[in-house]
Symmetry: C2
């Protein structure tokens, strides 16, 4: 049984780096939340990281995250107080108190939201999340894959607007309702998702993803410090694959219906010269085609990294001229199960393509 | 002090007729709700009508109504159980019980929603509403005009989706949030609006509008029974004005963003031959122009009636060939006050026109 441990400043720095890579282009750059977390830590607000396997079966766990379009989240931020308020509102609605906070989404900015709220509420954070990466929709979580109830949710914006989604027909309806509300709020809102028991957290999340993100952050940091190749170090550490290396030559991007949608074109350099890689995104990178042929799809993690620094590049910060390396990291097993693929496979994103993992070895 | 009285079958029949006229084209045809009310009455469920002036100051009063596009409400109906559930949900949220139910909107179908819920919940209905007619938006109510709090609201759809809007920045935000949610539900939802005290009902509603609608219904019924002119009888009873008489020659209508918007063209007959009247609507009739000149605007009640039967014609049932009489009924004084006009005057509907009542006698 692992002891709870206090999160350190170094942990947060590494978490920001690693979570942004696990965001697969989405989830929003954690930078602003890292700044806020630094401030809270400097005020002496220590957050403890809890191993999910140490949770009591009947523990009551809050699950929080921002929702919205990454591009908007960069400009119109919620903060720790707004996020904490979603949890307080849920406690008032339930008439019960939470014992811990878990992550909705390890990928991107949402990796920090539980820590920000926890710093104010003095609750531990559970080392687990419901995606193992970032995804654009609530019905793409492990909770949805495991058919756990989707409700209640609370939602708070930066004004005084607060909503409790008391009940929903299913995950699809919860997603529809909350997405529209989020759009009304200007495509960004703070949410406390359906409360979970300790047992549900242990059985229906991706375990230890905070530790994984911190590990990834450290690997990249160390490679940089040694003037090594951070991308190569990441791939070696996580069993990833290098898919393409090139220069961003075109980006088509629009913020619509609470999502950031579009595509990016990358022209090959060096060993990939003469070849073109096109990535479609719906907040996150969903599908990559090389010279017109599908090469990789969700739920495999498709990450676009700065070829030199190994920093993740988000779908909202992609721009002409960037030298990037497209890599794939393996998806957690639950996501590539038959039930998992119904929720997060390419068809769930509207692509008439069967999922075949780049890690299966077979060519497309 | 008036005694509470039981609503009779004859009351409901007259209410349906009168409320539809007060709907000024919107609020939806009460016919289907009348059918449901007849069924509940036949089961022995008697609803008592309460004079608002008899309410204790600290009584807790529910205010309910459907929201959505009238055209949709004709096809996808909520029912008494859904409406009652909005009240039960509000009671759970508040931790208090209601003593009575008031009307959100006397105009159209919403005249019946409090009676349908009351029949199931065994609560009296208060003879007052927050519009004195129908309007498309929450910020167009007497509660908004009186600057009462806009929250909380509960919303229930015909599935299992239920929402509590716990707090809102203002009436405008409450309208935006709930309208979007309503759109997600297919442009129809049942809602329990912000609870009111007895004192607020007495001071910030249009009083005795249920009685008024029933009176209007009786006037039209009696004129028909005597083979008289129901339109003339209505105008005599309510101090109304006949504006135009003609044949509907064109209707432009679209259901968009949870509203029914459009315009209708009427070619003059008899004394109005050679003249054209154009009515714009946003759920309700908002503005009428005769030969290009503004003749009447909200909040004056603009009603389109079947020239023979005196039946109201809704913005969703207007069609080519109908012989209609356009009439105006006086708006309640609160609506034409300076503060009232900020909420329900022509500018609130996007028209760059000052309000001048047709009852002021001055020509436009």
């Amino acid at each position: 049984m692992a002891k709870p441990r206090p999160m350190t400043d170094a942990d947060y720095e590494a978490l920001a780096l690693g979570a942004w890579i696990l965001g697969t282009g989405g989830g929003g750059d954690p930078y602003h939340s890292l700044l806020e977390m630094r401030t809270l830590a400097r005020e002496g607000r220590t957050v403890w990281l809890l191993d999910p396997l140490d949770l009591e079966d009947d523990a009551l766990v809050a699950v929080v995250g921002q929702m919205g379009a990454p591009l908007v989240i960069q400009e119109k931020m919620t903060d720790a107080h707004v996020m904490a308020e979603t949890i307080r509102l849920m406690e008032r609605h339930l008439g019960r108190r939470f014992t811990a906070i878990a992550l909705w989404e390890i990928g991107g900015n949402n990796a920090f939201q539980p820590f920000l709220a926890a710093a104010l509420l003095d609750l531990p954070v559970v080392d687990a999340d419901a995606m193992g990466r970032a995804f654009p929709q609530a019905d793409m979580t492990t909770f949805a894959i495991c058919d756990l109830p989707s409700y209640p949710w609370t939602m708070v914006d930066i004004r005084r607007n607060t909503i409790v989604f008391v009940e929903a027909e299913d995950w699809y309806w919860m997603e529809r309702m909350t997405r529209k509300a989020c759009t009304v709020f200007g495509s960004v809102a703070a949410t406390c998702k359906a409360p979970r028991t300790g047992r549900e957290i242990k059985e229906c999340t991706i375990l230890h993803t905070v530790s994984k993100a911190i590990r990834i952050g450290h690997v990249v940091q160390h490679a940089r410090a040694r003037h090594g190749d951070p991308v190569a170090a990441l791939l070696a550490s996580e069993g990833g694959l290098r898919l393409f290396h090139g220069k961003v030559t075109d980006v088509y991007r629009r913020t619509t219906e609470g999502y950031l949608r579009g595509s990016a074109e990358i022209e090959g350099l060096q060993e990939d010269r003469g070849s073109t890689f096109v990535l479609d995104f719906q907040n996150e990178f969903v599908i990559g085609r090389q010279d017109g042929t599908v090469r990789v799809t969700a739920p495999d993690l498709i990450c676009v990294l700065d070829s030199v620094s190994g920093d993740a590049i988000g779908t909202e910060t992609l721009r002409y001229g960037q030298r990037v390396t497209v890599v794939a990291l393996p998806a957690p097993p639950l996501l590539v199960s038959e039930k998992g693929l119904q929720h997060v496979g390419p068809r769930a994103f509207g692509y008439d393509v069967n999922f075949r993992s780049v890690f299966d070895g077979a060519a497309w």
